[in-house]
Amino acid sequence: MSVRSGESWAQLITTFRAGPTAFLLAHGSDDTFLAELLQDLSSERISEQTKVSMLTLLLEFPTLLCPDPEVGEQVAGSLLANFAPLPRSPKLSWLRCHLLVVVGTVLISTEAFGEGSQASRDYLSLLLHLASDLNDQRQGPGDRGVRVAACESLRELECCYPGLFSRRLDSLHSMQQQELTPVHQGYTLLYSLALRNAVLLLARRGEGALSELLAGNEGLAWEAVGNAGAVSPACLDHLLLLPTPSETKELKSVLSQLLDGSYLLTPPAQSQLLWHLAQVVCVIRTQSPAIFKAQLVRLFGTAHVALLHASLQLKGLFTDSLFTAEDEAFLLRRLVGMAQHPSLPSPLKLFYLDCLLHFPENRPLGSGSEEGLPVLLTPRLASCLFPSLFNDPGTMLARLNLLSLVCLENQGPEAERGVGYIFEHVLALADPVAGKGGREATGLFFRAAYLFARYFGSRPQLMGELTGTLVRLYRQRCSLAPNLINLLNETQLVLDDPAWPTSLSKALQELTVGMPLLPPWEQELGWHLKLLARVAKESGVPQGSTLGFLQRLVRLAGAGQLGDWYIGQALLSICRNLLQHQPPPAMGCQLAELLQDVSLNYPDVDVQDRARFYYTLLSCLSGDKLGAVLAPGGRLKARTLSSSIMADSENFAATLTVHPAPQPLLLLQREAPAKPTLVPVPASQLCPADAQEVKDCCRRLLELHSPARLSLTYRLLHTGSSPERLFCLLLRFERSNNFYEPVPDVCVPCLSATHPSPILTLHLQPCCPYPTELAVSALYTTQTGLTYCSQLEPLQVAFPDIFLPLALPMNWDCESRHHLFDTLWSSLCPDGSGDCAESLFCWPTTQQPLGVLVQAHFASYLVAEELGTYKIAIALPPHYHVLLQAQGTQGAVRVTIRTDNWKVLPHLSAYLRKVVE
């Protein structure tokens, strides 16, 4: 491979970033790109700047480039080897920083990090060595950036593996104390995090002394690698430590020293420090939270969001043990002030508004996760948060929401006046909608109206006025019909008493049926009919006037003045809703008449046909049945799909759409592979084979023929609690890599609890003999006629799953088989040029005798056995082979391996290791 130019790399990096997966697929999924990247990183012909940008690929996409820990380990090793010879010149310090950060990222994210990994041990000792250069004494200030990166990398390790440095707290602390240059921030964050993790883990373990922890000066706690995710703020409530007074004193001096220096850190670092220490104090019950008191004034006055948030978090954690009632009132007033401070950007003000709705009160009444007003937030205090027309839409709605809550939860003239003002404000938003206000203004008004209706829907007078405004708007702009329908639907969902949506429907119906029917028809009539179709669903609204309106339309149609297909369908959708939602005795007769009219007089034949169909339904079915037939998702619905196309476009869309399944219902369970039924050939029929026969057979076995495929069987199970029948089940398999040919879909006509669960056989065609994982998704239709898509647990194809026995002649005698194996063995002799390789593997002394082990795992692949030596031959599709000779020697078992594809060796040794575990 030749070295690429910097430009060519720049281009590659851009393409890679635009679509990493696609890029790697196009580049061939094996490690060529990675190899090239690593090679050029150590090339001297590539500039530092290019190398830095090449490293960003490993920094941001390590798991794509290094699919498993082994590769991660190799990459980290190779990068460390690059780091070592780099001179410590300031010019190279940037590249060295990147290398440090990238090595850590690769080791952590590929899960290669651990005590057993050489690269991890080297990396850690390098970091600790770099970090030990306190106050630039060894390397001078030019190397400070590298030291910052080293501290940060150590911090990230501690963060990912909580407790890793828990036995070195004292040495971390002394570094933190001694460092005076601005790098002290890195040491402080590292120490405070390690302290927090150590204390939380100590509390969780429930044994050990705090003083020992603080004085710890030993090695690394490698076992922490298993702790990932173990330390979370969520578990704070259950932890506590009660150290002795002298230990508490010791801790207190550590905490005060850290807090006293906290103002020297950047705000985001300060907030981290405070949060770490707060968690420590929260767990150690003998330490009073008052230790934070000295920091509070500074935090209350800050303009920085991270610091203010830190004080709110302290408040949430310690409530009245740190914040007096006076502090609480003060903080709340401050927060209200900040939520409307003209100097702050509006996203931040919205955040503070949200904080008000989840304000950590000293004596909380609500659950905390729901929006709720703090008791101290009175209408007087909140009045400065009144929305105005000059707010951006987000701010306006957020304020409207908050103010509505305030007025709802308080009583008295102030709250009443507040409701009046809010209402006035909502109405003011309507003016731009009627005029030239665009989509934003329209959306804003309807959202404000929705909020108002949600909170004040039970106030008939105001809601009546709102209805009037909405009706006026519709009169001016018929294209608002979808917004109005949406408002009706949404308010009906949230209001306990749907009186208002009903009365709005009635008012809109009144307006619509009174509209003069004048050309141009198409646009406005379409909206009217849509709206009436929605109104027809309201059982509380008398529909006589709607029918009258429709009759007028049909008469016009009969007279040839209108009557295209579209209008006809819209008209019929109203009829359909009437059929479904209005009890027939009330209007059966009138509706039947109308449908008959349509079926006879409407100019469009399709419309006539459907009208006739509805007429038949109406005249033949009882009310109950009619409702069931037309109900969305009803059983018959699926069958009448074609005729309901235009009846209700939303339902039609629902039937056609693939919905995500609410919960996974299906499971593929692996069936034990069928044991090959070998009919042993009677010894009498065995015969020897001559040398030529053996040679031919060996050639036949090794030559390329049509690649073998794997067949894996699974049972498809229904895991739902109430197994319903599923139809047209289609299972799709998606490969996680290119090791296999695409797997064809599998179709199951019906899955039902009453039938035995079906057995599916998957045929896999490997391109490379590696284990893999297949993502499985299922597409199915339920009894209600809706189609769902659901994700199943991925299928694991393990390495032994791809083993196939060699097609050996059945009737050869033992000696010939030995001979055959030996011939195979020598043909796979590694000659240095091909892919053949030989390897050795040792099983330690095991409980089981070797024979039992072989019978248990390799029976189907055993070619010959002689004097405790087992000769095993395995075919790996598409056309590779593995030969094993296992021999027990001095308590251990020696397995000699030959293969014609050396890349399978790691998988094979992993498997062999597993066999004896």
Binding site: L180, S383, S388, R447
Partner: protein, 485 residues
Amino acid sequence: MALRGVWLISYEQGACGTVLFSRRYPTVEKRAKAFNGASYVTVPEDGVFLKALLFELKLTDRDKNFVEYRDSCSRINKTSVYALPTGGDLWPVLAFQKSGLIYVCLPLVEQSLKPRPPLISISGISQAFALLSGLLVFINSSQKNEAEMSAKVGQLPSLLMQACPLGTPLDTDLNGLLDNIHVSTNHMQKQPVWRISTYKGKPQVNVCITEKVKSMQYDKRDVADMWQVYGTVTCKCDLEGATSNVTVSLNLPANGSPLQDILVHPCVTSLDSAILTSCSVDVMDDSAFSGPYKLPFTPPSDLFNLCYYTSQVPIPPILGFYQLKEEELQLKLTVNLKLHESVKNAFEYCEARIPFFNRGPVAHLEYKVSYGQLDVSREKSLLVWVIGQKFPKSLEISLTGTVTFGSMSKEQPVDPICSGSTAYVKLYFRIPDYTLTGCYADQHSVQVFSSGKPKISTSRELISSDYYIWNSKAPAPVVYRTLFF
């Protein structure tokens, strides 16, 4: 307290967006997987992310009138935090939009995402806010053309590598990281992290108080007029030595208005709680603390905002009324402005702009001004009354006139609020060396603890911002509501 990814996206109306910059943090991602458990949603590749973001910000399907997922009235974003539909719901994605750019960040949530925890309980959320604010300031500071913009975007990978190398923000002031030079000095005590570069040269300290005044005047009995003052104190300290300390005291004269809602820069080392007690949400109180407001700090090397404040002053600097009546085919207008006698009558500029919306171009204008001069803008939709540097001795000026309009055309400005006779006059002015609250800082109120005697310069100014006078003869939007009279 970490971030899973940061994105900078350019978006122009009607076009699809482009990812200008993105950075993801795989080690944080690994923690997210562990913390979020079953509710974990992976961060998709940039293309998918962009699509989902534009969808969620309601920037797709612009040609369609009503689309339920976008326009439904129950979809209300009360914060700038979004859930992106990318397979699962990727949450909490923080996104700001500003001048054609979208700043996006995804903080780590250290618990399950179902049910969604309140934002206040997510430690990373404020870090995300801080980093995006820093990014926003960096991109918008002195950036004029496309080349400068792309140069800035080009600097982002290296800046983010310093500010947030492994997903945990270490610093959010990106401008401060630009000239990050490490200097060798003998440190006797710990240095503040933000004071990195050192200045060589003549020591000087510059303090500037900028007050802005907003006003909404209606000249109506039932609607209260509103005015509000808010100030920013900016500082630039060019001092040698890494540990110099400065104290700035803001003073008020005897009749000054107390400063409220004071927010200070994080470099301020300590605060007297009395400074913070006054809050705009409280009812005004004569006993309020009225200074001096002492702010001790260790200065960063760049220009920075030392503090922000608001205040309630008893009067607006200019009180006016605007009467506009539609008579047959013409508009009759009267504008009257009066400068309060306590306000310094020495402007750098002062003008009143009278815009006309939803009408044709000005075809004919007859007017009389008692002072200054009146111009019609080139687009013929705006009258500009240039008042100049001073009000006359009477401090009161007026304008009367009649305007007729041509027929409405596409080029004329449209405004949803100003329909019918709803109209306003907007004032633009700047008064140097003056503040409405009276707040000032002088030579004596800046103390510098550092070697050498620095040159201290102080200045102040009052600038109008959103200063509206509404037509009192028509309905006007009310912005200020008090529940108490």
